[in-house]
């Protein structure tokens, strides 16, 4: 029996023993990850929503009534050459009326009564380039446009955008905070489990030291135990989160974590598990040295 075989046996012995403790630690680490994943999921979805909304944002630059259609089109060409502008679209007076009809069918009758007496203004719709599709970019572009000759007003609707932006940033801050708190508490939980394992095996550890087992032979199984616990807990947490996410899908549409974040969470689990194991073994150094 080579010493490697013996080490593998010891490690399996660790992982197979105390199924109760293992199950409970797993549940605990998983729960911690469920809390973390929930916030990650919410902020990930809010961000996606924000990004989509931002991409859909168009600045509407209403043209002064005295501008002719030709002048309007020339202005649109000018704007399309400006930095930060992805595309422009000129909306003539006729088109504005058609759009109004399409968007507000219930007011159509009203418009019929008005026709010829009242005109919706022509406008230029401006879509922005990726780097500009955030709140600051949109606001500064709108200001630039409204200051231009021939443009009476530049508006961008979506009144809820500032609120959404604020919510996303609150969630992001909370996420960093929670991530730190949970990483620390997961590391503590794993450290404690490994510590418990060390204590419960203190006799074994002591006797191993007495019969001359090298330090790494004694500590390695604990390190593997901690890392595996962290990994399994992260995967368990992701599984529970996925189930909850599916159950809520019908009520609140959203998308689950993308692979990148998924693996980041798994890595976080393994890393905190390993760190926890090292912390858990530490106070047992004297014991592991075989001094009793």
């Amino acid at each position: 029996m080579s010493i490697w075989k013996a080490l593998a046996g010891e490690t399996l012995g660790h992982l197979g023993s105390r199924p109760g403790a293992r199950a409970v630690t797993l549940v605990m680490v998983s729960l911690a990850f469920v809390v973390f994943n929930s916030f990650l999921l919410v902020s990930w979805n809010l961000e996606r929503l924000l990004r989509r909304e931002m991409q859909a944002v168009r600045i509407e630059a209403f043209l002064s009534p005295e501008l002719t259609p030709a002048e309007g089109r020339a202005l649109a060409d000018l704007i399309s050459g400006m930095g930060g502008v992805r595309s422009v679209y000129y909306v003539s007076v006729q088109e504005a009326e058609a759009l109004f009809r399409a968007e507000m069918p219930e007011q159509e009758r009203l418009l019929d009564l008005l026709s010829g007496r009242f005109m919706l203004p022509a406008s230029i719709q401006v879509a922005l380039e990726p780097g500009w599709d955030n709140e600051g970019g949109v606001r500064s572009m709108a200001a630039t446009l409204s200051a231009m000759e021939g443009i009476s007003e530049a508006v961008y609707g979506e009144e809820f955008l500032p609120g959404l932006t604020r919510t996303v940033s609150a969630f992001r801050k909370l996420l960093v905070f929670l991530g730190a708190v949970l990483a620390v508490s997961i590391a503590m939980v794993v450290a404690y489990t490994v510590r418990l394992s060390v204590v419960q095996r203190s006799r074994t550890v002591e006797i191993m030291g007495i019969v001359g087992a090298p330090g790494w032979f004694i500590t390695m199984p604990f390190l593997i135990e901690g890392t595996v616990t962290g990994l399994a807990g992260a995967l368990g947490g992701l599984l529970i989160s996925a189930v909850l996410s599916m159950m809520l899908q019908g009520a609140v549409g959203h998308s689950f974590l993308p692979p990148g974040l998924f693996w980041a969470v798994v890595f976080l689990g393994g890393a905190t598990g390993a760190v926890g194991a090292v912390l858990g073994i530490r106070p047992g150094k004297a014991v592991i040295g075989g001094k009793s």
Partner: protein, 228 residues
């Protein structure tokens, strides 16, 4: 000199357990340490297997000095020492076989060699039928014999035995003593602590007496004889 203790003292809190003890044991010697309860016998053996370091003085065992131990030295030293503890210290969650095999396993012996050695030792101890039992299923004397087998299994250079026959009847005691003498004849130095040195045939060992943490060489067989 295999074991070389020079002027070692050790106290636990206010209580001195050993005071200025010097002891030299050559390879292949058989040393018997006796003395009343609390004299410091177990403490002296602990210093030898370096389960504790002396407060003052130096302990040198198989070339390793207590004041110059580096990480990794301890495990290498321990693989050359076999210890029988007064309270046995068996692994409660492993069978008799696994307990006895442990020192061979951690030093990387092959599975076949381990089985051969352990089976022959268990047979010698009259425990073959008990090899799959766990320590808590054994009688006191049976546990003690398992502890002795574990100490012997890896052919140590030094064998430390702390009260190895306290739970054994006179016949079994005689058997264990003769096995220790066999091992000793094979070249292993044996240091045995006991409160009943009369069990060892006179002349076959060096007898030391410990009392109140002080070691005296003076106690010889005739003194003990008189005490009977």
């Amino acid at each position: 000199m295999l074991i070389d203790i020079r002027d070692a003292s050790k106290s636990y809190g206010r209580w001195p357990a050993l005071e200025h003890v010097s002891l030299h044991v050559a390879a292949g010697e058989f040393v018997v340490i006796s003395g009343p309860s609390g004299a410091g016998k177990t403490t002296l053996l602990r210093l030898i297997w370096m389960g504790d370091m002396p407060d003052s003085g130096v302990v040198q065992v198989a070339g390793y000095r207590s004041d110059m131990m580096k990480p990794g030295h301890l495990s290498r030293l321990r693989r050359r020492i076999g210890v029988v503890f007064q309270d046995f210290r068996l692994l409660p969650d492993r069978t008799v076989f696994d307990n006895v095999a442990l020192p061979l396993v951690v030093s990387g012996s092959s599975g076949r060699a381990v089985r051969k050695r352990v089976f022959s030792l268990l047979a010698m101890m009259g425990l073959s039928h008990r090899r799959d039992s766990f320590p808590h299923q054994l009688a006191g004397g049976e546990q003690q014999r398992v502890a002795i087998a574990r100490a012997m299994v890896a052919y140590p250079e030094i064998l430390l035995a702390d009260e190895p026959t306290g739970n054994l009847d006179p016949d079994a005691t005689a058997g264990i003593i003769s096995q220790l003498m066999d091992i000793n004849r094979g070249g292993t130095a044996v240091v045995m602590a006991t409160h009943d040195p009369r069990r060892i045939p006179p002349g076959s060992a060096r007898f030391l007496f410990l009392d109140g943490g002080r070691l005296t060489d003076s106690t010889d067989w005739s003194d003990l004889e008189g005490e009977r």
